[in-house]
């Protein structure tokens, strides 16, 4: 940051009429290592203070050190450079600090999920990665076994159905907004749709879940009915607006010349849209839709209300409850620590013997979180790669 100081403007004369143009007290002139020195001083004083109060820890030292650095750096610069440059330096540090604060949760979250989740996935009994190939049937108490294959299949199925519902609706709505809502009543309708899509973007996920639930229990005799398709409907309520938004943006990027060229060749409008507009925008559309899927795949609250939880794989979207990764994480987290009377637990029905672990539920929650994050990140990376490699090179 400080290396750009040479490019900084010369200090203006503060007092008019003063013969001295460059006042020595109002000039940016501290070389960069002075800031490092004040930073080190802040850190040292922080460590000393924390040691005196007997609460020394690395995060506390960094936090207090940063605050002290702000104070020391400001005072030092104030003495050497004057008020204006001291404020400038202070705000630079504050802004960098804000960014560091935002990085802290991201790094610590990924660290915790990878550290604890990957450990559990690799250490799964009976073989590594068994966590991804077994389900939870027959797992009792603190048994250190079980996996998420049922939850993963549930998540993928429900997301697939949500996509089957949302992508056509979202895509056609975007086509309507870009290609058809140009004049007359369709223009008015288009404005209404744009507004409502904005409203839908803001629907809380739990309300989407309530809608999915209320919609089905209104027509079902059994009030406690829970099915995969209910979750898919609830999720599509959240997915449609994101698909519309991103697709609309992409379709608007297609140059008007291409459409006009197609019309001039006598191609009807619908074929122009299919063969020219959609084909030009396909990379952007794929990226937007993939990101929408990535966003919706981690939704928990709607599924909590609509699909319930089971311990084994359920392939049928229209009958019976389903397990999903997000609700599985929540369930295992709520179960908390398990009771372990002995080193092993035995399933009274199957007589299978498992090692017992107090933390088994929490470990499974972390491992499932790791699985979910891997899926989300893969989707995100695929989206970026598609947009990077397959975007048409338009001159803009």
């Amino acid at each position: 940051m400080t290396t750009t100081s040479t490019k900084g403007p010369a200090a203006p004369p503060e007092q008019t009429g003063s013969p001295v143009l460059r006042r020595p007290h109002d000039e940016r002139r501290l070389p960069w290592f002075h800031l490092v020195l004040t930073g080190l001083a802040g850190l040292l004083v922080a460590v000393a203070l924390l040691a005196i109060f007997d609460s020394l820890s690395i995060p506390a030292a960094i936090l207090l050190g940063f605050v002290l650095h702000l104070a020391f750096g400001y005072l030092y610069s104030r003495i050497r450079e004057g008020r204006r440059w001291a404020t400038d330096r202070l705000m630079t540090l504050v802004v960098i600090g804000a960014f560091a604060i935002a990085m802290f949760p991201l790094v610590s979250l990924l660290w915790a999920v990878i550290g604890r989740g990957l450990t559990r996935v690799l250490a799964a009994a009976p073989s590594p990665f068994a966590f991804w190939t077994t389900d939870m049937s027959g797992i009792i108490g603190g048994a250190e076994a079980g996996g998420v294959v049922h939850a993963t299949i549930g998540t993928l199925l429900i997301t697939l159905w949500a996509s089957i519902i949302s992508i056509p609706i979202g895509l056609f709505t975007a086509i309507f907004l870009v290609e058809y809502a140009d004049q007359g009543w369709r223009r008015v309708l288009g404005q209404g749709v744009t507004f409502l899509v904005d409203v839908m973007t803001g629907i809380p996920s739990i309300v989407a879940g309530l809608f999915g639930l209320a919609l089905f229990i209104a027509f079902m005799p059994d009030q406690s009915v829970r099915m995969g398709i209910m979750g898919a409907v609830a999720l599509s309520l959240l997915m449609i607006p994101t698909v519309v938004r991103s697709s609309e943006e992409m379709l608007r990027l297609v140059p008007m010349d291409l459409r006009e060229a197609s019309y001039a060749l006598g191609v009807p409008k619908w074929l122009t849209i299919v063969k020219v507009v959609l084909r030009t925008a396909i990379a952007g559309l794929t990226t937007g839709i993939t990101l929408a899927i990535a966003r919706v795949i981690g939704e928990t609250a709607p599924l909590l209300l609509t699909v319930g939880m089971v311990t084994s794989v359920n392939w049928n979207m229209f009958d019976g409850r389903m397990a999903t990764l997000p609700t599985f994480i929540n369930q295992q987290y709520r179960a908390g620590s398990a009771n372990c009377m002995n080193d092993t637990v035995t399933n009274p029905v199957t007589q299978e013997v498992y090692a017992c672990s107090i933390t088994t539920n929490i470990d499974r929650a972390w491992a499932a979180a790791f699985t979910l994050i891997v899926i989300v990140m893969v989707l995100n990376i695929v989206a970026r790669l598609v947009s990077y490699y397959f975007s048409p090179k338009l001159t803009r």
Binding site: A102, Y263, A301, N330
Partner: protein, 337 residues
Amino acid sequence: MSTTDVTPKTPEATSPSMASSRRRMGDSVFSALSIGSGLLIFVTLALVAVFLTTESMPAVMESKEIIGDASAFSLLETTLPLIFGTILAAAIALAIAIPVSIGIALFISHYAPRRLASGLGYMIDLLAAVPSVVYGLWGGIWLVPKLEPLYLFLNSTLGTWPSWPGFVPFVGGEPVVALFAGDPTAPMRNLASAAIVLAVMILPIITAVAREIFLQTPRLQEEAALALGATRWETIRTVVLPFGKSGVVAASMLGLGRALGETMAVLMILAPGATFSFHILEVGMHQSIAANIASKQAEASGTDMSLLIFTGLVLFVLTFIINALARWIVARSGVKS
């Protein structure tokens, strides 16, 4: 644009009428599908409103406020603490997130080297990609124990020391900073922890819009400020921030809408209660609408379910108003995001 003008001109030698009618049919099917999808959005939202309203009616009809029976449950007494908890959590989350987001947005738009800026923006977007249930897990297991010393420190200093003198009515003897007062007990499953995780979750939303509008600051104005001898901070304070003010307000309201409706972070971190307490460090005092629905839905049926749906309707209306206001401000200020 109208296709009927185009089709007769096509050089179709064999039966042009059949070809054109086929094309016209393709066109009408396609436009019907598009317009139908647009209408479906209307229908869906209408369905949401209708179903939430009709399904919540039983609770409203059986409540004390309507039938006047003292033994019936009170709609207000059950809903108001939830609304209070929801708004308090969202407000604290915003108070944390707004300054940090502005800092991040400024860092990316004006401080970071140009080549790094987009990569750093992507890092912030990654925060938005993490599922909320993972935030809940992280907050509940990892973060809550880490925050304990901070809470105890705040509670023993700001939460006790400056107190109103005894002769002041109502608040005499109470600490001035009521937020940190009370009796926090481990584990710190309190509103403050939930609000901190909420703040992390809304950071990327606010940052994205704020960054966008900061980048739209007229370059000439910034250069003019620099040419007048302003430091970088003075340029930001006098040119960038005034220009981006309405955008930041709108971004904050979008973040508020998200914080109000967020379920999992609150559900997994907060130990619930139903009071109007401002003591955010105390455990078991607050609950939010969304987390309340999620925690009670499994056992609820009949009137209880109807009551939950009613609170959901309240939340829907609340976020609808906030979001509409935000969009209006965005549209007025002309941010393209």
